[in-house]
């Protein structure tokens, strides 16, 4: 089975976000970048499919030079091949998906695995966008996957329950927590990954479709009324919620 896993590099969730002087992007200075947590599930699922069906797992990322670090993590976890697509300074989710689609067309994968969302821009669109660009089926929020021959049976999380979904290979799958427990790379594998080759792929276009006009830090509009725990406080608290905030 020819498996492609898409991974992205994102700021550590606790990173302090500062807007650049132009007011339209985040200032990357001082931010620690990590592998998008959901993409660990995608890598793990790719490795498990290879263990079951044999084949190769390729990890691809669209990003700058520093994104090679997450490819090394993927190599340490056990992927066979790592590919970086250097993106233009101005990119959006569409251009990233288009870049990946260009590469995927050369690879001809049976299955493309992604994380449910990247935790920086939370755009939650890559599986659908890539699926449509590749003219492949796409399913997101997948927490259970079973492949038999070319039949693909999945469960995805929906409001208040689960949806069972079927499709066939080739397809694009966005995975969610619950599908597996990602392995931790072992120290010798981390060392070996440092010297493994990383391929570069040049995309055909850098077309974008969405533009960030400005970025800002939201001002808190919260009431901020904090009380103690006496009976009188609790009575006042309930009155505030019921009468002032009309919250219930």
């Amino acid at each position: 089975m020819n498996i492609l896993v898409c991974i992205s590099q994102v700021p550590d969730t606790t990173a302090k976000i500062v807007i650049n002087s132009a007011g339209n992007a985040v200032d990357p200075a001082g931010i620690k970048f990590i592998l998008n947590p959901y993409d660990e599930y995608a890598i793990e699922e790719g490795l498990r499919l290879r263990e079951k069906f044999t084949g190769t797992v390729t990890a691809v990322t669209v990003g700058g030079d520093s994104a090679k670090e997450i490819l090394r993590t993927a190599l340490a976890m056990g992927v066979d091949k790592a590919v970086i697509i250097k993106n233009a300074e101005k990119s959006d989710s569409f251009s990233v998906a288009k870049n990946i689609a260009d590469y995927a067309t050369t690879l001809n994968p049976d299955v493309i695995l992604l994380g449910r969302q990247s935790i920086d821009y939370d755009s939650f669109q890559m599986s659908g966008t890539l699926g449509e660009l590749m003219n492949m089926a796409s399913v997101s929020m997948v927490s259970k996957l079973e492949i038999t021959g070319t039949d693909v049976a999945m469960e995805r999380d929906i409001e208040g329950g689960k949806e069972s979904v079927q499709t066939s290979l080739p397809c694009v799958i966005g995975v969610q927590k619950g599908i597996n427990e990602p392995r931790y790379p072992k120290l010798p594998d981390i060392m070996k990954a440092k010297s493994k080759p990383i391929e570069e792929f040049s995309p055909s276009s850098q077309e974008t479709r969405v533009q960030t006009i400005t970025m800002d830090i939201p001002a808190s509009k919260r009431v901020g009324k904090i009380l103690g725990d006496t009976d009188a406080d609790i009575a006042e608290f309930v009155r505030l919620l019921h009468e002032d905030a009309k919250a219930f």
């Binding site: 659908g128 409001e159 006009i213 970025m215 904090i226 009380l227």
Partner: protein
Amino acid sequence: MKIAVFIETHNAQGIRSAKEALTAARSLNAEIVGITTSNADALHQFAEYGLTTCITVSHDLLATYSSTAIASAVAQAAKSANANVVMFGGNASGKEIAPRVAVKLQAGYIPDVVEVQDANGALQCVRPVFAGKAREHVKATTTVTVVTLRPNVFTAKAVGGGAVTTSAFTPELTGNDAKVKTTGVTRNEGKLDVLEADIIVSGGRGMKGPEHFTLVEDLAKPLGAAVGASRAVVDAGWRPHGDQVGQTGKTVSPSLYVACGISGAVQHLAGMSSSKVIVAINKDKEAPIFKVADYGIIGDVFEVLPKLTAKIKEVTGK
């Protein structure tokens, strides 16, 4: 501006996120048309929220629910209506369909929108990014814009409607469009999901153990609330994974969110900071949750929660 709003029903019930999308569309100076693949009989439920015209899409291949077939059908209908904005509620199905519709219409796609605005005839949107630590103001550079709206942010407002004028549309679909098929849906019976609840009461590590979540459930009951949880307690196995609120759990925006014994880590805030009213009960007055709270009690959940539940029962009579 001409906005096509995706009108969705589940078992003939008009879903809330579609009503919210109608409300958001109405806040703009625009012509609005609905697009539905559901039965026209259900449309009166949307008239109340301002739907006056609707394209009813039908095709044999839409008989079994297929997200890919619906995406093809909606894209064709939106094109036939010359819509320059296509709006979806950001529920699980909207998020699945919208990106495919955007590619088909060569449209810019803006997900997880919390504010919409008419900027000289073009749609401009605000969306939270970096776990809610920043917001971006974005617009598409294409002729058509596709958006999904974060659920529960645009409160659906009834306007008292009349009849809905419908026009039938038959899309051109082949088996290739129906690549993905839904074969079944399992509901968590008897349990309100945090994604569907108007009020959520969540518990964190401060509850000290799974057996004490009865205190959280007791408070949830008179409020008609769903019970949520922080990741710390989900990871500890105290609560099911589906209850987790936060960056790696569910993103919720209820009208009231009550955090009991939750510190308010940034990843938790990412999932609930757009709630309308936030309430915290925590014994540590320095807990970060108080920085985002509208109302708070500094106290021990084991003493405060029973008293709070009793007081709320007095008010609601439940």
